[in-house]
Symmetry: C2
């Protein structure tokens, strides 16, 4: 069933039926009723590809999903998607997801953009000096970046959390508790949030005349194994750190396993603060020793970005171009005063 058939059925022109369907004013209310009725009976749905071709819009947000054989799936990605979806469903938008090798993201994003399949783009996993920014700017398609790109002029639409502030505050808390030996368990070095979090730690330490030793910094994928490995490494250092900052509760999961295996007590021998993306699976309060965290909901960010993206496509009012969300610092049992030596 297509427009033509439907209009023949009704004895109307395609024009009128189309207008009736799309809420144009120049169609008789009685006629519109008749059309709507027929739609219900026949179950007619406009062909989106045709609509897209004719209008240039198709109610969809495009995004690139990094994937590859052996590339571990990322809970953060799923959680963010849930947020996007929650908002999208309200506006009858859908997503077009282009899976791409992590090394091929720029090209994949470009393919997606010029495929004509999407109205707007969402971009994540930002890096320092991210090459995608220049490409996006040249595209004349709305987009919102999740995160920022360290080293690039912040003149693009983004939503980010204050990573530097979060880790600055967390470090200050640990300093106040008397800790002096710190370690940072971070995400991959090239990612923007990792850079900023590191800076936050470093500047808080610097205020006390402390520095973060190279050996007390790990950059790795945010998996629990990597957390385990990194922590094992830290624990073997001659000057074992007593305060750990951790970029994700996923990393913390492994890190804590290492602490337990070493027979140490979290919150006493070792204090740890992790960043909490509010993943349903990893509630900091559910850890055997509840975790002190810097918190910001990834899902809420997804909802907000979807709002902005969809709003822009629908030309529904202006949105702020840049948003920086503060994180909360929530103290639980994984942090305590520095142990007396």
């Amino acid at each position: 069933m297509n427009l033509k058939q439907l209009s023949e059925l009704l004895g109307l022109s395609q024009t009128t039926v189309s207008r009736a369907l799309n809420g144009y004013p120049e169609v008789n209310e009685a006629t519109r009723e008749r059309v709507l009725q027929a739609v219900k009976e026949t179950g007619y749905r406009p062909n989106k590809a045709a609509q897209r071709l004719a209008t240039g819009k198709a109610g969809s947000i495009g995004l690139v999903m990094p994937t590859a054989p052996g590339h571990q799936s990322d809970v953060h990605f799923g959680e963010f998607l849930a947020g996007l979806g929650e908002e999208a469903v309200r506006h009858d938008f859908h997503f077009v997801i282009m899976p791409a090798d992590p090394d091929d993201e720029v090209a994949a994003l470009r393919r997606l953009a010029i495929s004509g399949n999407v109205d707007a783009l969402f971009v994540a996993y930002m890096r320092g000096h991210d090459p995608r920014l220049a490409m996006l700017k040249s595209l004349s398609m709305p987009y919102v970046v999740h995160g920022r790109s360290f080293g690039s002029e912040p003149d693009y639409p983004y939503l980010d959390i204050d990573n530097e502030g979060a880790f600055y505050d967390a470090t200050r808390l640990l300093l106040q508790l008397g800790h002096t030996r710190f370690a940072l368990m971070n995400g991959p070095m090239h990612l923007d949030f990792a850079i900023r979090r590191k800076n936050g730690v470093i500047s808080a330490l610097a205020e006390r005349g402390l520095a973060l030793d190279e050996g007390c910094m790990s950059h790795a994928l945010m998996t629990d194994e990597q957390g385990l490995l990194a922590m094992e490494h830290f624990l073997q250092l001659p000057e074992r750190p007593t305060a750990i900052l951790c970029s994700s509760t996923v990393l913390a999961l492994g890190a804590i396993r290492a602490v337990n295996q070493a027979g140490l007590r979290l919150g006493e021998d070792i204090s740890l603060i992790a960043h909490d993306d509010v993943l349903p699976l990893l509630k900091p309060e559910s850890f055997s020793v509840p975790l002190t965290t810097t918190r910001s909901s990834l899902r809420a960010a997804g909802v907000r970005i979807a709002q902005r993206l969809i709003g822009t496509v629908k030309q529904a009012g202006p949105f702020p171009d840049q948003e920086l969300w503060k994180t909360e610092l929530i103290v639980r049992a994984s942090t305590g005063p520095v142990p007396q030596a």
Copy 2:
């Protein structure tokens, strides 16, 4: 840059350029080279919407993502998606994800199908007597179901794991260890896998003349909280079960927390077997007491389903319509002989 412009640039007809691009044989090799060269230089990409409209194919797989405010995101979904993506990226396919309220899945699936945006459908979260099957059959669009629908004629293309066999085997193992008081911590009652797993347990018990008490069965969303609650309930029963079967490592996570909180020892006071979807975040061997599991990789299932779907769309050879994967039973430390009373 579109086909018309490109062909004018080359002094060729759109026909020839189109054929050159799509690998048709009736075009001079020299001409093809010239076209390919021009594509490289101009960065031309065909408009997918137009391609779709003209051919009816667009290289995309559609799926419905259940979501709603407050609806917790599902790690299983993300992991499966990673599998789909891994295969899709090899064939330059993408996904169209339609977010939908969990109560609205049938309608959402239909909308997706007739939107003309997708070539094939993937369907998951199957229920007993699933109403989507009839709809899918009427659709004349390829689809593959992940799971099955208990109570419906199995005459549709599916990939499922042997849920009944898995839980039958797991139960047998526990029986051999002398356990007689069982509890089953299951997924939502209406879901197909939950039905079959329950049946597996019941039939293994029946062979020994045992039955599964109503109070020893929980049906809930597969979250760690629910696991905690269910286990707390089980532990308060007058005849406390000693053997627990658990539909997911996510549930097990909470369940084990409850066991620990009750001061009981896993693998001694309580034996537990969980089904392991091979989620990167929840490795059974990484639990403080490594988990005995029935194992089947969700991601591998995703890869396989994408293969079948894409293969069908591309008309690349016949695929088996029905696949039933056996699970592995892997014994670790969370199971032990029944404690002597």
